[in-house]
Amino acid sequence: MRELYARLKALYPLGELTEQRKNLAFVTVPAAHLRDTLLHLRDKEGFTHLVLLTAVDWLEEGQFQLTYLLNNRALACDLGLRVLIQRDTATMESIHDLWPTAATYQRELREMFGIDFPGSPRIEEEFILEGWNSIPPYRRDFDTLKYAQEAYAERPGRVTHDPETHMRLQMYPGQHPAGK
């Protein structure tokens, strides 16, 4: 994995290598160099299997992380390419021409995270959420619980009691609740 990293590093401006296991590592790639890196890995290094393509929302840092996980079956090792893109613009180059199956991932990412991949087949078609009426739901600022409470009725008859509060009300009412 170290040698591979050295070879890649000579060609592309990569970030630090994170070796998670001896057969799994992650590395950050600038968005502009992703396609070249992928092509090199696929065609020169035997990383022919696109395991998955997904996104992580680093809301606090204003970034989306796109993870392209590639597998080299002969060497039984995986390399995850991390691409950090701006959360507000949220656009990335499509790779459907490298792996046709990527088109599905990209369609889902557009729907669930609001990340656009211009030129990807059927990218504008609804994938899972027909008639969705809120922000892309897998973004961290989408509050699932709040949405559910607004969209659905709670079954009546449910009420619960916090033991600490209940004991205060039963055993020493009127006293200042500490730590609350």
């Binding site: 079954r155 619960t160 033991p163 209940h166 205060r168 500490a178």
Partner: protein, 599 residues
Amino acid sequence: MSFKDVLSPFTAWKHLFHDPVSIRNPIGRAAAPRYRGFHQNDIEKCIGCGTCETICQNGAIDMVPVEGIQTKQGDSGLRPRIDYGRCCWCALCVDVCMTKSLNMSNIYTWVESDGDAFRFIPGVDKKPWDDAAHGYRRPDDHQLTGPTRLREHMPEMEPEERIGSFAEIVHGYNVEAAKLEADRCVSCGLCVATCPTHMAIPQYIKAIRDGDYDLGVALLYETNPFSSICGRVCTRKCESTCAARHEGDAIAIRWLKRHIMDQVSDEQIKKVVGQPAAPTGRKVAIVGAGPAGLTAAFDLAKKGHQVVVYEALDKPGGMTRFGIPEYRLPYDVIDRDVDVIRSVGVDIRCNVRIGQDITLERLKSDFDAVLIALGLQDGRGTRIPGSDQPMVRKAVDLLRRVTAGEDIGTPRQAVVIGGGNVAMDIARTLARLQKKQYGEVKVILTALEDLPHFLADADEIKESGEEGIIILDSRGPQQVVIENGQVTGLKTWKVKAIFDEQGRFAPTYDETDEQFHPGTMVVEAIGQMADTSLLGDALTEQLAWQRGRLQVDAGGRTSEAWLWSAGDMVRGPDVVSAVADGHRVAASIHAAITQGVQQ
């Protein structure tokens, strides 16, 4: 493709006359013994800690009050109600149940037309599977709430080392050890009701986990300005109702409290505590600079009142300083807590004895309110024959003199009467003095109670034993033996009687089992009482009393509108109870003097 491919499919006919394998009616089919079906809860064992509700990722559990189950110490009185419309039968609730009261039966079929019937309180709403013998029970090594035992025993000095000096025995947790211990807490909050001053225990333990010590200090000071002191010598009733004790050891709440105080500098504590409110122009006099008096002083000063505390002895702290030996509670720790209390503007005047130097009448006329928090500074005596000899001493007097640095005439051999913490304190103090002076420990401690009923902490008993003190339980003092005008020892009889159902005790003696314990000094370390002579005869007669104590209302106010009383003299001996009382009384005084009730 062959001819076989045409015929082969007809072999299916061979099953034509086989009996069907399906069960005609699955209702009532017995499930496997470890099947996860409807819940069972032993409501007598359940303590209503709500851990099951916390873990439930479906929000299927509500904690609800149940008729006939009282909220009491260590039991919230709540019981889990399960909504089977939400339950996913994962049994995490069973896995984290602190008492193992919650289990699952292997019954999974129940036909009912009313959907709401599937929301019930297991163990309370009777069901056919309540007594089912099989079902999911948490396997032995399936432990999800962390280790059941103390992660790390509090590092402390070895007996040989500590007996040679009065240095503090317990070292305190480091950050890592404290985090490990804090991790065991399930944050149920049952302890809060038990703590006399209702400290925010789960919250400050969380602050340790999060490493947020400023928050920790802020939480401690909400309810207890004696946190460094309580972090060492609190009677920690909270630990007796800790949910973790059902699995193993209670969380070391006391040591965790101390850890927070140890981590934060004096300046930072004062910053967190903050400055008092704008002056109100009201004045309060407090007699006695012990935990109750100083807690009240702290609260009142923070509210902007001018507070003067009068202390008869030369240093503040009350019984925490003059009753508890240095090896348990170093004096600089007391200074530290007192210093923070001073920082909010409390004026502590030592060496002023009310009734002698200033009269109570004078305080009454000079201040808007007066609080007396005298403590229990007088030792009781057994009044057995021979106990009027000069070498028969009271433990509290000796401890006070040791703190003051006086020579108490350490005996080569001593006998202590009593089984409480004061008895342990004097025994261990004498042992240290003997070790210093004579190089060997010769202390015998006799107590009426049997060991399981000792009033002293288990740690104290254990450590006393380690330090070479001989502890004899169930011994009733009969006579101090005098020969040639000198004390030579104590004669005791065996105690037969035991505690009754109400926990009350009337010792009866077996006269045939008599022992003699040699010693040139006998120390009585039994009960304590308050010296209320400062009230004077007239005021004593004027005040209302309640079974030997000043009669006070819920806020600590006596029958005289200008006078409040708090602490051990009202509540009995306990630091943290005195702190709690200080808060109550301060609130009452504040309400009274700001509403113009006074004058």
